[in-house]
């Protein structure tokens, strides 16, 4: 063997030893983590809630139906004014509604585009939309449908009838695959996005600059939620890798990860205190993860529920968890006791999105049946 070959062989041997020792270190750390987590698991949530008074019968009905989309509703968000709603659809339309009167206040249409995600800015003066664009060769070239692919755009809302809402859009985020979710942070100035490219990212709206990126998911990221502002700068994301990950927004570091779901996580939402979060998954269950105990503490499931949960949100006190499912229903769960307290019928196709209003007086669901419903 030549000296050069001997050197390469020795280096390869060192690398193999390093890889082997790192692997065994990883295994032993994993073992320790499981041991520590098991020690803390001294009781179940529903046991602690045994003596809590059971909830009575719920009368929740559809109070408003919002009709106007021409295809599946994919996403919706409430304005902080507790009355306006923005919704987006597979027909490329984004509509802003007054939920009290059901009037449409604004509408934008993007041709050949699925508007996968939409969010209201905290000021109420703008909305953000995340796209997945398809090529369209037969449209007039005068339409501006350029560069919508995999982007998140911010549209200022104007009541000037002469202003074309689409003309003032700002392209903010750029991913290498579809945008699945977007959310403003505490101000109109920053946007958090989740993408089919497996990453999340934080952007400056004014400059479009990437401020921080979050790598760690092993597949498409489908959802995200920001921690309530009092609890600091973190957010949780869920993905097709069955993982829910909690991130530090400043460092880009994953601080906690949970992998107990058996399929894609479609929705994640923080508990109002910020100490826990819920998830909804294609495995037909919703789960509650406690951040301080660093483990799953409740599963919301029934043998009769076999379709995926697409979207979840808490009532104001965190006692109720509303979950929309692919079997067209909405199940209402007692978060503490783990039991279902109500099942709501009305939608005529999958429920794809669900959010409780900012003051907790109602919740809105969007569906593949082209409509949105406000329940109270």
């Amino acid at each position: 063997m030549s000296p050069r070959h001997r050197q390469m062989a020795t280096e390869a041997l060192h690398e193999n030893e390093t890889l082997a020792s790192l692997k065994s270190e990883a295994e032993s750390l994993k073992g320790k983590l499981e041991e520590e987590r098991a020690k803390l698991h001294d009781v179940e949530l529903h046991q602690v809630a045994e003596r809590v008074e059971a909830l009575g019968q719920f009368v929740m009905k559809t109070r408003r139906t919002l009709k106007g989309h021409g295809n599946k509703v994919l996403c919706m968000d409430w304005c902080k004014d507790k009355r306006r709603i923005v919704s987006s659809s597979q027909d490329g339309k984004v509509i802003v509604w007054d939920s009290f009167t059901t009037n449409k206040e604004h509408a934008v249409t993007m041709p050949c585009t699925w508007v996968m995600a939409c969010a209201y800015a905290p000021s109420g003066c703008a909305i953000a939309c995340g796209f997945k664009q398809f090529s369209c060769l037969s449209l007039p070239s005068s339409w501006d449908y350029s560069g919508l692919d995999n982007k998140c755009s911010v549209y200022p809302l104007t009541f000037d009838k002469n202003e074309n809402m689409a003309a003032k859009k700002k392209s903010v985020a750029m991913h290498t695959n579809y945008l699945s979710a977007c959310s403003f942070t505490n101000s109109d100035m920053q946007i958090l996005t989740a993408s089919g490219d497996g990453t999340c990212a934080l952007w400056d709206v004014e400059s479009g600059q990437l401020l921080q990126s979050f790598h760690g998911h092993g597949a498409d990221v489908l959802c995200l939620d920001l921690a309530p502002s009092e609890t600091g700068n973190t957010f949780v994301s869920g993905g097709c890798d069955k993982k829910a990950m909690v991130w530090d927004m400043r460092s880009g570091q994953c601080v906690q990860a949970f992998e107990t779901h058996e399929s894609d996580i479609n929705s994640v939402r923080y508990y109002p205190s910020g100490d826990a979060f819920a998830s909804g998954s294609d495995d037909a269950t919703c789960r509650l993860y406690d951040l301080r105990a660093d483990r799953e503490v409740a599963i919301y499931s029934k043998e009769s529920i076999i379709f995926g949960a697409s979207s979840v949100d808490f009532s104001l006190s965190g006692r109720l968890l509303f979950a929309g499912y692919n079997d067209y229903t909405i199940n209402v769960w007692d978060v503490l006791k783990g039991s279902r307290v109500s099942i709501l019928f009305g939608h005529e196709n999958r429920v794809s999105t669900l959010r409780v209003s900012p003051d907790g007086t109602a919740f809105c669901s969007g569906s593949w049946d082209h409509t949105l419903r406000v329940w109270a």
């Binding site: 390869a12 690398e15 193999n16 390093t18 890889l19 790192l22 692997k23 270190e25 990883a26 750390l29 994993k30 320790k32 983590l33 520590e36 803390l40 698991h41 001294d42 009781v43 179940e44 949530l45 602690v48 809630a49 809590v52 909830l55 719920f58 009368v59 109070r63 408003r64 009355r83 939920s99 009290f100 760690g216 570091q253 601080v255 906690q256 990860a257 508990y271 109002p272 205190s273 100490d275 826990a276 406690d290 301080r292 105990a293 660093d294 503490v297 009532s315 104001l316 006190s317 965190g318 006692r319 109720l320 978060v335 503490l336 409780v356 003051d359 907790g360 007086t361 109602a362 109270a376």
Partner: protein, 64 residues
């Protein structure tokens, strides 16, 4: 080349696990009690839970 990138990837995995192992975790009996407490304390301010009356809920029909 593939050798050194698996070592780098493995190092990241170990670093992440070390980070997670360093967390100060609390017993479920304590955290669950806190979750319960939060629910109970805020229950009366939860309109969907209490079924707020028509006069205060803008979505519910007015009583004639």
């Amino acid at each position: 080349m593939s050798g050194s990138s698996s070592v780098a990837a493995m190092k990241k995995v170990v670093q992440q696990l070390q980070l997670e192992a360093g967390l100060n975790c609390v017993k479920v009996s304590q955290t669950a009690a806190d979750l319960k407490q939060f629910c109970l304390q805020n229950a009366q301010h939860d309109p969907l839970l209490t079924g707020a009356s028509s006069s205060t809920n803008p979505f519910r029909p007015q009583k004639v």
